[in-house]
């Protein structure tokens, strides 16, 4: 303890008598190892803030990593392998991660198991928004990761990570149960490295919701709405968005112009 450069305690402004008592106390604390042992025996533990947070992190992370409750949420073929992973032979419960919750409010982990379609995407994003922090997302299989074999399909979203932050990607089509278990273990390792100091859910303010996409003529990502309008409407196309407007937007300009004249 005496090796520390700065003072261990900041002495408060008190009346001189108390201050003197206090200083002698601190002096003894810094020099007399027996005194420290005595204090510790009395149930007082002295440590640095970093170490304290570190110990707390350990407890928090242990709790979280050992009871990752997934949302009962199956999309496609991968869901079959996911259920097989929960079931007898592979038994994901050994990792504390097979207590499937029917409600997103009780779930910590969303395993996006299968092809994400445009029609389903608003519901997925809404479910994600409904899950309380801390929450994690595993993109299971090729489809959830990047569209997979169905990527070119007109109703397929090329990967859930365009909308939801993904923690672990599990490759495969579909991934075997072993691969999914490895994904969960990877997530556990990731949780072990987290600290309550830098996680958003221990900070002030609410976690921002992801805007739920809208199904219009095609999928509309509300975060890209200004860009979409800029490319599709004539006003913005003449202004700043003219250079970006692709060939598809050009007939749009004419059509809209016709409408306004009529």
């Amino acid at each position: 303890m005496s090796d520390n450069n700065g003072p261990l305690y900041r002495t408060p402004t008190l009346d001189p008598d108390v201050l003197e008592q206090w200083s002698s106390y601190v002096e003894r604390f810094e020099n007399d190892s027996d005194f420290i042992a005595q204090q510790v025996e009395q149930g007082v533990m002295v440590t640095t803030l970093d170490r304290l947070v570190g110990m707390l992190d350990g407890v928090y992370n242990w709790g979280r990593r050992s009871s990752i409750w997934p949302l009962g949420f199956g999309l496609a073929c991968c869901a079959i392998e996911m259920i097989a992973t929960f079931a007898g032979r592979y038994d994901l419960d050994r990792f504390g991660a097979a207590l499937v919750r029917a409600s997103p409010r009780q779930a910590d982990l969303m395993i996006v198991s299968g092809t994400v379609t445009k029609k389903m995407l608003p519901q997925i994003v809404r479910l994600w928004n409904q899950m309380p922090e801390p929450r994690y997302c595993i993109a299971m299989g090729a489809c959830a990761t990047g569209g997979g074999p169905f990527k070119e399909g007109y109703n397929v979203v090329s990967g859930i990570d365009k909308y939801i932050p993904v923690d672990v990607y599990v490759p495969g089509c579909p991934p075997t149960p072993q691969a999914l278990i490895h994904g969960v273990m990877t997530l556990q390792r990731k949780i072990d490295g987290q600290s309550i100091r830098d996680l958003s859910w221990y900070r002030r303010g609410e976690v921002e919701e992801i805007p739920v996409p809208v199904l219009g003529a095609d999928l509309i990502d509300l975060r890209r709405l200004p860009e979409i309008r800029g490319q599709l409407t004539p006003v913005a196309a003449e202004g700043d968005g003219a250079g970006e407007a692709g060939p598809a937007a050009e007939p749009a300009v004419e059509a809209v112009a016709d409408d306004t004249e009529a």
Partner: protein, 582 residues
């Protein structure tokens, strides 16, 4: 074993055809492939006459082909007594396609016509509820039209120039797409006010005036069950109108797993579709592959060696057992036997998946069958392991499950008399598989139009007369036992020899023509309708999904029952969403 390829099989027996021809006169013309080309206006009349007077009472498939000069709706009708189907074709105008609806004749045409409307924009005059079914209302364009292009469109056909033959691998689609993403908007589209509008029809919002009082005095309530719901077996929505706890009306809403199988299939090479068929009904992979292989073999006129046929039977029947294990215990799961039966069943299922992995290299997505045979022969250990499993293990497991569960009081209470579907309705709704057989109709494609070597085995078609949820459950249990019977004979008789027929070729040449091939999958009759124009890709590739058609009868089965029973009824139909939505 020769697979019959002559077009005669697709026609009615000669004298019947002659009688029919005199009866319909000008309205019907038989084309050179044996299909009947019917005038649009007289379609319902012809269909009704075929149903009532010529015993073609079972509509098995309804789809559409987009030809350069016309839309052509295609109907396949068969007799419930068995025999090959008759193909009807109706041409519709390219600019304003309208065809009379068949819903008045066959209730099973309902969803299939909606699907054709959704994908091709062909309107069916007289359809009671002609709305989109797989895509959402407001989606721009009709995707399966040949001139409609997806955002990631690169070329009409694969292999794509950007990646082949130089082997240059990059994500061509990302460079091509206008929005660096898989989206496109029609010209003139204005994204104004989208934040507040509900463009999707997924959620019903009722006005206060619509909440009128039902006769019993309780409020009519609309409940959206799904698409995220533990009992819907995937992403499927039931929109229930309730009077208290009783279901007054039910509307299935689907398309949440619509991943464009047919559009992608028409861009793919013929063989390139084989792995995609695995992902249709992902609990019956090998059955799907067989159906597709069978259809293309019909087109190509290929012979399949005997050994390959036997191996196909072995794998397909193993597949049926594992699929029924899954569906039975998930039905029990739905009615409250939570997870325990499932855990036991999945244990047995894993053993069968081990065999699949051994034979094909993959547990789930096998990609094992080829046109004219199989990709590779079975490993040596397969037969001994399969033999042990079939002789010792599976039979006991089925008996055990049957003994513990089928007589259980709660099971009987929840299942008996629930969701009754009378036989005439089951036929009229075009249901197939266990749903049809549980209504007392002994129709099984393996008997009705035997494919492969099924005519060599001694087995029974399992039926039950009741038509309720319990009957469907018991039919599945019975079918597992019959599959074991077939397996024992097939394993005993498995011959040696080649596993691949025909000449080896780098590029598969499929002669121009059309074929409808069908197999009996665990969930019912899976059909593939393929049209070839002689090129490297299918011109039209349609999958007739048994689950999708069986769902047509769901509303009829649930009306008058309680909400909790809808869960059991849906479980007894046993849908797999990958196949419902494709």
């Amino acid at each position: 074993m020769t697979i019959q390829t002559d077009v005669e099989t697709a026609v009615l027996p000669a004298e019947r055809a002659a009688r029919a021809a005199t009866r319909f006169g000008e309205k019907v013309r038989v084309d050179d492939e044996g299909a009947w080309v019917v005038e649009a206006a007289s379609l319902p009349e012809v269909a009704r006459a075929l149903r009532d007077d010529f015993a073609l009472d079972y509509l098995i498939n309804l789809t559409c082909v987009d030809w350069p000069d016309r839309f052509e709706t295609v109907y396949h009708m068969a007799s419930i007594q068995g025999g090959p189907p008759l193909c009807l074709k109706v041409a519709a105008d390219k600019a304003k396609p309208i065809v009379p609806s068949l819903t008045g004749v066959f209730a099973g045409a309902d969803f299939q016509e909606r699907e054709v409307y959704d994908m091709f924009g062909v309107r069916f005059a007289g359809h009671p509820n002609l709305r989109r079914i797989l895509m959402w209302e407001g989606f721009a364009g009709y995707p399966l039209r040949k001139d409609w292009r997806e955002a990631y469109y690169e070329d009409d056909n694969k292999p794509l120039k950007s990646r082949w033959p130089e082997g240059d691998f990059f994500f061509g689609e990302d460079k091509i797409a206008d929005w660096d993403d898989n989206i496109k908007y029609p010209s003139g589209y204005q994204a104004e006010g989208v934040e507040s509008s509900r463009a999707d029809d997924n959620i019903v919002v009722l006005d206060a005036d619509e909440l009128h009082r039902a006769p019993s005095g309780s409020e009519r309530l609309i409940v959206n069950m799904g698409p995220q719901h533990p009992s819907t077996h995937g992403v499927f929505q039931m929109r229930l109108t309730l009077d208290g706890e009783t279901v007054v009306d039910l509307q299935p809403v689907m398309g949440y797993m619509h991943r464009n199988h047919e559009k992608i299939g028409e861009r793919n090479l013929w063989l390139g579709n084989m792995p995609f068929t695995d992902r249709l009904d992902y609990l019956a992979q090998l059955g799907n592959e067989w159906g597709y292989a069978l259809t293309v073999e019909k087109l190509m006129g290929l012979e399949v060696p005997e050994r390959a046929e036997y191996i196909r039977v072995i794998l397909a029947e193993l597949n049926r057992i594992q699929s029924h294990f899954w569906s039975i215990t998930f039905l029990l799961n739905d009615i409250g036997a939570f997870f325990t039966p499932m855990m036991y069943a999945i244990e047995e299922r894993e053993l069968i998946l081990d065999l699949f992995e051994m034979a094909t290299g993959s547990r789930l997505m096998c990609n094992y069958m080829r046109f004219g045979g199989l990709a590779y022969d079975l490993p040596e250990e397969f037969l001994t392991m399969a033999q042990t499993l079939v002789d010792d293990r599976l039979e006991r497991a089925i008996d055990e499950m049957d003994a513990y569960l089928s007589g259980n009081e709660i099971v009987l209470e929840r299942m008996q008399g629930v969701g009754v579907l009378p036989p005439d309705m089951a036929i009229n709704f075009s249901t197939s598989g266990p749903v049809l057989r549980a209504s007392g109709v002994p129709y099984d494609v393996r008997r009705a139009e035997p494919y492969g070597v099924y005519d060599r085995f001694d087995w029974d078609v399992v039926t039950r007369p009741e038509g309720d949820v319990f009957a469907r459950y018991m039919v599945r249990v019975g079918e597992m036992r019959q599959s074991l019977r077939i397996l024992k004979q097939a394993l005993r008789d498995l011959p040696g020899g080649e596993i691949m027929g025909g000449k080896k070729a780098w590029q598969i040449r499929v002669p121009a023509g059309q074929a409808y091939g069908r197999v009996e999958n665990p969930r019912g009759e899976l059909g593939f309708y393929c049209v070839s124009d002689g090129k490297a890709n299918p011109y039209r590739y349609h999958v007739k999904s048994p689950c999708f058609v069986n769902l047509t009868a769901l509303a009829e089965m649930t009306k008058g029952h309680k909400v909790a029973d809808t869960v059991a009824i849906l479980g007894s139909i046993d849908i797999v969403l990958g196949e419902v939505d494709r």
